[in-house]
């Protein structure tokens, strides 16, 4: 048994990396779940290759899973890893720039043969040529040992190799003092029909654990005590799943059946997958022939009274532009979820970016205002999907909800809400028997017209995409009516500001620098601002883009400098300048398909404050 001592840590970032077929996603999730059960706060990010299953051992076939755990508040999956598990040479190659100096690197030495190095485009052996100087490298013969453990298992060679991720997991469990029970239980359930496989995996897991305990290379192991987390029942949730569930919750609350018209596209497809599982809620899911059909089928369903939703990513949003205009003109509710990815065009489909904001706000012909919102963490995708649905049906106009690949695929522990605790949703459905109703009549507060559902006697009426008379909804070419309607539609959207929360800041109430962000950069910005120590700084994060919270200008006024940080060339900055010409906005942008790192942010903030 090793004589290693146990150290206490605040937080740690661990990256599991291997071939697409090596089961790194599963390995990472198991570590995450176990840590969550121990009460750590955490955030994760999987990092799939663009290819489905590239040839073994190549760099473009590397699949990774990063998890950040702590006994402090964790807002991001972490910039760079403290521990890297590299199942082969390619996994090391790809992750070399994403690990901290002095990090611990566990490599499966069996996959660093000459041909492995070649496939990974290493000119010489990184384990020997000094590349890893300064790191704490643990060379474990994981493949050999796994084979050894299972030599009498009766499993075929391929199945044996599939267990080697458990060996790695075992090592890491020992390093961080985690119990094995959770994973053992998981394996029993997963392979309930195949107990041999379950047992083999468990055996290898334990072997890995013991291996780590035994060998002397690991100087110490670590404990990360539970975080101070609000009491309650928790689960892990991925962003796309949270979006799906938020929509389902809104359906239940509003009494309107969910209707999804969608077309698969990375990284939004998982919302479609997730919703497809819950037909028992009466949800109707149509995988349409394309994005245009997806939104149009949803619009048809909205006309008939459903909570209509369409989900997509950038290029799909572009295709939906025309139809969004129709929903705006017809004043029908519709939730459009756009999970942003790298652009333009097909761009970097598996990478994250925030460059669809301006398309969401402006990308349609004519004056066609849509409500635009953005979620900021994997779990609050639930809240904002719920709110998008609520606002859309209550205000009878489309809402575009922006998330991104980083949020959609990321996961974090989530305190499970109670349906009773969620706000009511009251769609303005026209009850039978009302006299003197006009199709485009609207209430003063929300300016929403009433929803007169086909099938209700007495309300037969026609809507459409031509300009409508302010009251009757008949086609109208009257110039003054057009101006009135154009302004009304804009105002109706602006009115939503009366129904959303005010902007809150984190940090100093007033001061030198306000860091402004929106959407998926929440975690990075919050972490960076919190690390700015005594600086006179605050962070304001926007979830409501159009309209903006009512107190936005007032908040901006309290700081001498404002920097807007975005993963694009400055789209929110331009948008804000258009609305608040009196305010000076600096900008900080990154457009590499990657999130901000804490370091680059704090460096920038300090630079600005010092200026």
């Amino acid at each position: 048994m090793s004589t290693a001592k146990t150290q206490e840590l605040d937080k740690v970032v661990i990256k599991f990396a291997g071939d697409s077929g090596d089961g790194m996603q599963l390995t990472g999730s198991q570590f995450t779940d176990t840590s969550a059960l121990l009460g750590n706060d955490l955030a994760t990010f999987p990092d799939y290759p663009a290819e489905i299953r590239a040839p073994q051992g190549t760099t473009f076939g590397v699949s990774g899973f990063q998890v950040h755990i702590g006994n402090v508040e964790i807002n991001t999956p972490g910039d760079i890893a403290d521990v890297l598990i590299a199942m082969n040479a390619a996994a090391l190659k790809v992750n070399l720039t994403a690990i901290r100096g002095g990090a611990t690197i566990i490599v499966d030495i069996d996959n660093f043969k000459h041909k492995d190095l070649e496939k990974a485009h290493f000119d010489s052996d990184p384990l020997e040529d000094g590349t890893l100087d300064g790191y704490n490298v643990i060379e474990a013969p994981i493949t050999t040992l796994t084979r050894e453990v299972l030599k009498d298992s009766g499993l075929d060679g391929k199945s044996v190799l599939r267990c080697k991720n458990m060996f790695a997991l075992g090592i890491v469990y020992w390093m961080f003092n985690r119990p094995l029970e959770y994973t053992e239980h998981f394996l029993d359930t997963k392979f309930i029909k195949n107990p041999d496989v379950a047992n083999a995996n468990k055996k290898v897991l334990v072997a890995g654990y013991h291996y780590a305990e035994t060998i002397e290379v690991l100087a110490s192991n670590f404990v990360i005590p539970p975080a101070q987390i609000e009491r309650g029942v928790y689960r892990n949730i991925m962003g796309n799943q949270a979006t799906a569930w938020g929509l389902l919750a809104a359906s239940e609350k509003s009494g309107r059946k969910l209707f999804l018209g969608s077309y698969p596209i990375t990284p939004a497809t998982d919302i479609l997958h997730e919703l497809s599982k819950y037909k028992q809620f009466g949800a109707k899911i149509v995988q349409a022939e394309d994005e245009i059909a997806g939104i149009c089928i949803a619009i048809g369903a909205s006309f008939a009274g459903s909570l209509a939703v369409t989900t997509t990513s950038g290029p799909g949003l572009a295709l939906k532009s025309e139809a969004i205009g129709l929903a705006i003109m017809a004043e029908l509710p519709l939730v459009i979820v756009n999970v942003q990815r790298g652009g333009p065009s097909t761009g970097l489909p598996t990478k994250t970016e925030q460059a669809d904001l301006i398309q969401a706000v402006y990308g349609r012909n004519g004056e066609s205002p849509a409500i635009v919102m953005a979620a900021s963490t994997p779990s609050d995708c639930f809240d904002f999907a719920f709110m998008a649905a609520k606002i859309s049906v209550e205000h009878m106009t489309p809402v575009i909800l922006l998330t991104d690949g980083y949020l959609g695929n990321g996961s974090e522990p989530w305190k499970i809400p109670n349906m009773k605790s969620l706000p009511d949703i009251t769609p303005p459905i026209l009850k039978e028997g009302v006299k003197d109703w006009e199709p485009y009549e609207r209430d003063a507060e929300r300016m929403a017209r009433l929803w007169a559902l086909p099938g209700t006697p007495g309300y037969e009426h026609r809507i459409g995409g031509l300009e409508k008379d302010f009251l009757t909804g008949d086609v109208s070419y009257v110039p003054e009516n057009h101006e009135k309607m154009v302004r009304m539609r804009e105002e109706k959207v602006q009115h939503v500001a009366n129904f959303i929360p005010e902007l809150e800041v984190y940090g100093k109430h007033e001061g030198d620098l306000l860091v402004v962000g929106w959407g998926g950069t929440y975690g990075s910005l919050r972490t960076a601002v919190s690390q700015m120590g005594t600086a006179n700084i605050a962070h304001a994060h926007f979830n409501y883009i159009k309209p903006l919270p009512k107190n936005t200008l007032e908040v901006f006024g309290r700081y001498s400098k404002i920097v807007v940080c975005e993963l694009n060339l400055g789209q929110f900055t331009k948008y804000l300048r258009g609305i608040f010409p009196e305010i000076t906005f600096m900008q900080y942008n990154k457009i590499q398909g990657l999130p901000f790192t804490t370091d680059e942010l704090t460096t920038k903030f300090k630079e600005i404050i010092a200026q």
Binding site: L248, Q280, I299, A323, M419, P454, G455, P457, R462
Partner: protein, 339 residues
């Protein structure tokens, strides 16, 4: 669909909107035929929904005192699909033109037929874009001279019936604006078919494509140019119905009753309900001048509809499901408690 107590007259379906089609436009005849068909059907007035794209013909919903949605160009099929699925008790009628359905809307058209969504599709085929003032459409015969084809078109046309059968459509019928009574009949049959019912309406555009169907509809040629099929009846045409179709190998031929010993018994009897669509396809593709053009219900077969499939899957899943509320879903699977 559901039994109704009320008896409607065509007036119940006329809206108060001023009709804006050109004087003499074939669309008006279709409108009248439909005003007269609806009272013969078994739906409540509030359950009718007319959904159109953009085009002259797509103004149709404004003239129907029912629920209506004049949407965007080419998308009526998709929007109709959504409306029908969301509320399957509605009687959904898609109104579309040859440009709307077969140019920009081509994809939704074929997918809707493929899925067999239970809607009625009225395809106003005037072989021209009317609303944009006269360009050729995907159904314009090759060589058609229009504003955008001053030297004649190069495109080969679509034949809607053939295309529909290429999608395994379950219902295809053809009518023409000059015979309103027949239109009404066919509309009634389209309604009673469960699944996507495609009715191609040959419609004259007096302004931009006048007389394009004159070689079929002119009084002098009509008898020889039109063959109206009816399920279970021999396929006869011509003055006094003295001509008919017979099969020679894989080809249709015209036979004259009384000549070469041909009697009515030799004439093919129309079977609109047979699954195999080979003969339907042959009928749909007959062209002037060698053959008469076939009208009436050419194909009408029963297959599961998409909307019914969606509903029954929901029922099955619901029966089998152990998670039946959001609160149950939220706590399902792996959770842990922080105390």
């Amino acid at each position: 669909m559901e039994n109704q107590a009320q008896v409607y007259s065509h007036k119940d379906f006329e809206s108060d909107q001023e009709n804006r089609w050109c004087p003499g436009c074939g669309d008006k005849a279709v409108l009248n035929a439909l005003h007269r068909a609806l009272p013969l059907l078994d739906h409540k007035k509030e359950d009718y929904v007319f959904i159109s794209g953009i085009g002259c013909s797509s103004r149709f919903p404004y003239y129907m005192n029912t629920y209506g949605f004049h949407t965007i160009h080419g998308r009526a099929a998709a929007i109709s699909t959504g409306t029908k699925l969301a509320n399957p008790k509605l009687s959904v009628w898609e109104v579309t033109g040859d440009g709307d359905a077969l140019a920009i809307g081509g994809n939704h058209f074929i997918q809707t037929l493929r899925r067999n969504v239970d809607i009625n599709i009225l395809l106003f085929n005037n072989e021209i874009y009317g609303l944009t003032k006269g360009q050729f459409s995907p159904t314009s015969e090759k060589g058609t001279v229009t504003k955008s084809s001053p030297h004649g078109t190069i495109d080969r046309p679509f034949y809607p019936g053939e295309l529909a059968i290429g999608c395994r459509a379950t219902f295809f019928a053809r009518v023409v604006d000059v015979l309103p009574k027949k239109m009404t009949d066919v509309f009634v049959q389209a309604d009673s078919h469960r699944g996507a019912s495609l009715v191609e309406i040959l419609q004259n555009c007096v302004i931009f494509n006048d007389k394009v169907f004159a070689n079929i509809t002119d009084k002098e040629v009509r008898d020889d140019a039109m063959l109206w099929v009816e399920h279970g009846k021999p396929m006869l045409f011509g003055t006094d119905l003295k001509k008919g179709l017979i099969l020679n190998g894989l080809k249709l031929e015209i036979a004259e009753i009384g000549k070469n010993g041909i009697t009515e018994k030799d004439i093919l009897v129309h079977d609109a309900h047979c699954d195999d669509n080979t003969l339907h396809n042959m009928l749909a593709s007959l062209k002037r001048p060698e053959f008469p053009v076939v009208f009436g219900v050419i194909r009408d077969v029963v297959e599961p509809t998409f909307d019914h499939g969606v509903l029954s899957q929901i029922e099955e899943v619901t029966k089998a499901s152990t998670i039946n509320s959001m609160d149950e879903l939220l706590v399902s699977g792996e959770t842990w408690e922080i105390k």
